[in-house]
Amino acid sequence: MSNNSGPSRRKFLTTGLAAGVAATGARAGDPAITDVQPWAQVLGKGVDERGYGVPSPHEAHVLRKSVPWLTAEDTSSINFTPLHQLDGIITPNGLAFERHHSGVAEVDPAEYRLMINGLVDTPMVFTLQDLMRFPRHNKVYFLECTANSGMEWRGPQLNGVQFTHGMMHNVMYTGVMLQDVLAEAGVKTEGKWLLAEGADAAGLSRSIPMEKALDDCMIAFKMNGEALRPEQGYPARLVLPGWEGNMWIKWVRRLEVGDQPWHHREETARYTDLLASGNSRRFTWVMDAKSVITEPSPQAPILHGKGPTVITGLAWSGHGVIPRVDVTIDGGVNWHQARVDGPSLDKSLHRFYFEFDWDGKPLLLQSRAHDTTGYVQPTKDALRKIRGEVSNYHNNGIQTWSVDSDGVVENVEIS
């Protein structure tokens, strides 16, 4: 195992070349090359075979998955984005995790209305077409469920990054600024809070401080260029950059301006942080800096043996961008600065890589995110020392993967 702090391209290439030569010498000819493959001989499907394209059948295993024992049944439940099978920073729309409290509302866009009432000069109603007449903006933001990694508070439990960290997605939203829409109704000076409410059978409702609503929040109707998926709030949802996913009200139908918060179910009984003392934090809106190695991970073992190995993962912060990610392969004795590749956008996922020569010995992998405030992602022990083990929410602790000499990966905690 080498502890080179940065990728050595020359070494990487040399080692790779040697391995390639050895492989070539070991067999007469690769049938993938020497045989004529069917796709190289016969005509494939024509255009219009699929009006809406779908992934290759070979990718049929790349799916959102749920943890059945976690919830009572599937209409008030959650599933998980397959982070170990994705790369880059954008989550494909069909793989973005789902969380519903009363199932997916199948809203007819022709019957969609958004009402603004309460402490406003003029209570207003907007259709979807009305919303699209406001100036549009495009922003890439991560959405993380507050309960992401919540099952891992007491110790490692789920053996897969999809399940430990997959309550998260990152897409480009097209929408309008909430401040522009609110201005149409005219927020009164005593209007300090906003109640946002969904059109689903849960009527999901959250209190949002007006300062945030007038800052960077959006009403989005597109994700990654196409209409929101029904499970993501079609035809319109709220976007609250950097804040917990539960507040990003889907199928948003009403915004009420008030002078106090409403203390509804999702901000009292749920989404509050119970501490060991028995006291609880509330209004813990911001998602702190966090990172995780997505590959290798328990669902994505190292299959190629020793030699050039790529570690990759994701880092994000509700406070801004990620200027730096550190990676360790020896359980935190020594750390190396990872390479962030791709766009570094405010309150968006960042993709990082760390390339090294694996000597085939066991590894203890961790990543550690830094954000623009100087915050450094803490260990799980550091969080538990302050909060205890029953918080459920806001677990942004460092994740450890143990890799054995066969490349098999396990979710563990270390000293």
Binding site: S66, S102, M115, N117, T122, P123, M124, D130, R133, G155, P156, Q157, L158, N159, G160, F163, E184, G186, L195, E197, A202, G203, S205, R254, E256, G258, W262, H263, H264, R265, A269, T272, L274, A276, G278, R281, R282, D288, P298, D326, G332, V333, W335, L364, H370, T373, G374, Y375, V376, P378, A382, L383, I386, S402, E410, N411, V412, E413, I414, S415
Partner: protein, 201 residues
């Protein structure tokens, strides 16, 4: 009404006349504005007793929440759990954890029964709220009647134990270090996920 509103619109705020959207009608606001707050704002006139609530609960709620609000399978318990919040296995119920009674009324009214939301009338919501108070020993008389008039008289017990997010002072200043070399003398695996057998295929 519309004519009046239009004229009002035109003369009082002419800048909006050519703007986006339309004025919400009072009956539209009444249909959608169902939320209530801890100070009672939004509570409609109405009332219901513990005994009435028990009858509704048995039919509409007990299949998931249990006859005594203890919760069936993974469905949420509504009662009990007193003095467990500082234990290793806290039981968070209306009685042990929820800070405001208004949250019960609002949630039952907007989202329950599960799968048949907004089907209860106002008196039924008062009655169910009264019964949930009874299950949590906040009232002990089956004839107790909860109404808009006495709604604020019997607060829940845990409100004082909630406080605003304090991570900025209790956590952020302590999470700034990033050792890079020789950070530990030894490393041991202390906990494993393997063997727990809880991960889906």
């Amino acid at each position: 009404m519309w004519k009046f509103l239009s004229l009002f619109f035109l003369f009082s705020t002419p800048i909006l006349a050519e703007e986006i959207g339309r004025i919400a009608a009072p009956e539209e606001i009444a249909a959608w504005d169902i939320d209530i707050r801890p100070d009672g704002l939004g509570l409609p006139e109405g009332s219901g007793t513990v005994a009435e609530g028990e009858g509704i609960f048995e039919v509409q709620c007990a299949a998931c929440h249990g006859d005594f609000g203890e919760g069936v399978d993974r469905w949420p318990p509504l009662a009990g759990g007193f003095d467990t919040l500082d234990s290793e296995r806290p039981l968070k119920t209306v009685g042990s954890f929820w800070p405001y009674l208004s949250t019960v009324w609002d949630y039952v009214n907007r989202a329950m029964p599960f799968g048949d939301a907004q089907s209860l009338n106002v008196d039924e919501v008062y009655a169910l709220t009264a019964y949930i108070m009874y299950l949590n020993e906040i009232v002990d008389d089956e004839e107790f009647e909860l109404s808009k008039a006495n709604f604020l008289d019997l607060p829940l017990g845990n409100e004082a134990n909630f406080y605003p997010d304090d991570r900025e002072t209790t956590e952020y200043p302590f999470f700034t270090e990033a050792c890079m070399t020789d950070c530990k003398s030894s490393v041991e695996i202390t906990k494993h996920a393997s063997g727990k057998d809880v991960t889906p295929e």
